[in-house]
Amino acid sequence: MAFLEVSSVSKAFRMDQAERCVLENVTLAVERGEFVSVVGFMGCGKSTLLSIIAGLIPPDDGEVRLDGELVRGVRPRTAIVFQNYSLLPWLTALENVHLAVASAQPTWPRARHRDQARRYLEKVGLANAAHRRPGQLSGGMRQRVAIARALATEPDVLFLDDPFGALDALTRAALQQELAQLYSAEARRVTTIMITNSIDEALLLSDRIVPMTHAPRATLGQPVAVAIPKPRTPARLTHDADAMHSRARVVESLTASVLRRRPVRPEPRLPVGDIDVGLTAVPTHTEA
């Protein structure tokens, strides 16, 4: 049995009296220490899936088991990095991290909480900004604080909900790289599920990439293993034959899901690379 098991999960939301099925029969197994990325279009239900796996919202059908235990509500030793940072604006960067550490490790003495918070802020390169509030930090810096907050709690499982989605392209690239390095530097391997709409981001960090078909009734496609030694760099990934192969397979799977849904529409242009480009003309809601 895998460390994290998602079995036949379905979820529908009521919108304007109509049931809208977001997820249908989603099944996924993640091994301990594995880094799995779920790649899909914007608005395809990825975040809903992550919220269910993390225990923030319950599924309508199916179940999620973590380490054999049924997930009901947010489990201890779990951390989440949200796309919109979700830092508390009235606390400084250090206080934000400190609050998380103190709450995750209540048995530690106070001094250790503070040291841990400081250490992780240093790891993400924010030692000098420790006493600034989120409002005084750039988007990239805020997300660094959020990553420090998540890792400092020493979680078993980490959920990254499109963590770089709100950042500009350059910052995004820099932070991806930093996260890749942070991961290879950590002694413990944290089981991680990342939601993203960038295949390159997924290739840089994951052991496996799972394509997600388009909502409504989104489900997961065939996982694509990424057997490239870590840490990886974007420069290497652009030329690596394995990476190109994996990328092509993910794109193929995602394209197929779009084409199956919209046979009458002109074929969407799908540049190999960032999949949210070229698909902006495809409406998210097609079925009433």
Binding site: G73, T78, F82, N84, L88, W90, L99, A100, S103
Partner: protein, 257 residues
């Protein structure tokens, strides 16, 4: 150059508005026999203004002294009001059940005039001071109750998620998330409450005959010294304006933080 002219004009506009109202007052005093003109008002009031801390008798005191009595009374009533209103509002914000239970009652109690509460206060407390305090508290607390509750309901889902992900206890969620997130709303409530508390003071002093700016106003009306009514009105207005500005300052500080 042009912008400077406009700047000066802008600064001049509020003053000209006040001057215009003074002019209306002056014209009105010409046609209404008992209404003192601005000049007459000043002449009859200047001892109160120029010796603001004098005490010549129970009601015959300098304007600053009278204002201090009123301000003390208001602050007591106001503090009592918000001491009840803040936790009550937070509670109503947290619990939809309590909100549904008490909202109609609040909407009924809210529009009741201080003139109606005061006699009830006198019946219950048998003394004018606690009755005045009661009237001020009970009239001024509603904006704080309503704003605090609205503030809690407006706490973004993101923050609740943070609380759940960090597995904060109920108490930590309350102190670390709910209260800081709601603080700007609470202060808007305080500002509105203080405005009402100051409105109520005159009514309560008039009815109880206690020394203060409102009591002075009523006494001077009874002694037929109408100029002093205008003195009291202007003083009440200026103090109310100053209080609102002070609270506004505190509020904007909080928002900036």
């Amino acid at each position: 150059m042009r912008t400077r002219v406009r700047d000066v004009g802008r600064r001049f506009l509020p003053l000209s508005g006040i001057a215009l109202i003074g002019l209306i007052w002056f014209v009105a005093s010409r046609s209404v026999p008992d209404l003192p003109s601005p000049v007459q008002t000043w002449n009859e009031s200047k001892t109160y203004v120029l010796q603001p801390f004098d005490k010549r008798g129970e009601m015959d005191q300098g304007i600053a002294r009278l204002a201090t009595y009123s301000l003390l009374r208001v602050s007591k009533g106001f503090l009592l009001g918000i001491a009840i209103a803040t936790p009550l509002g937070l509670l109503l914000g947290v619990s939809p059940t309590l909100h549904r239970m008490f909202d109609p009652a609040i909407q009924i109690l809210r529009p009741i005039s201080p003139l109606a509460w005061l006699p009830l206060g006198l019946v219950v407390f048998r003394k004018s001071e606690p009755a005045a305090m009661f009237a001020i508290a009970v009239c001024s607390m509603w904006p704080t109750v309503i704003n605090s509750a609205a503030g809690v309901r407006a706490v973004p889902q993101d923050y609740w998620n943070v609380a759940r992900v960090l597995r904060l206890s109920r108490w930590a969620t309350f102190t670390k998330i709910v209260v800081p997130a709601t603080l700007p709303y609470i202060f808007t409530g305080y500002r509105l409450s203080l405005g009402i508390a100051w409105l109520v003071i005159v009514a309560s002093e008039m009815l109880t005959g206690t020394p203060g700016i409102g009591g002075f106003l009523w006494q001077e009306y009874n002694s037929l010294i109408y100029a002093h009514i205008l003195l009291a009105i202007i003083t009440i207005g200026l103090i109310g304006f100053a209080l609102d500005r002070l609270m506004g300052l505190a509020e904007s500080r909080l928002r900036a933080a």
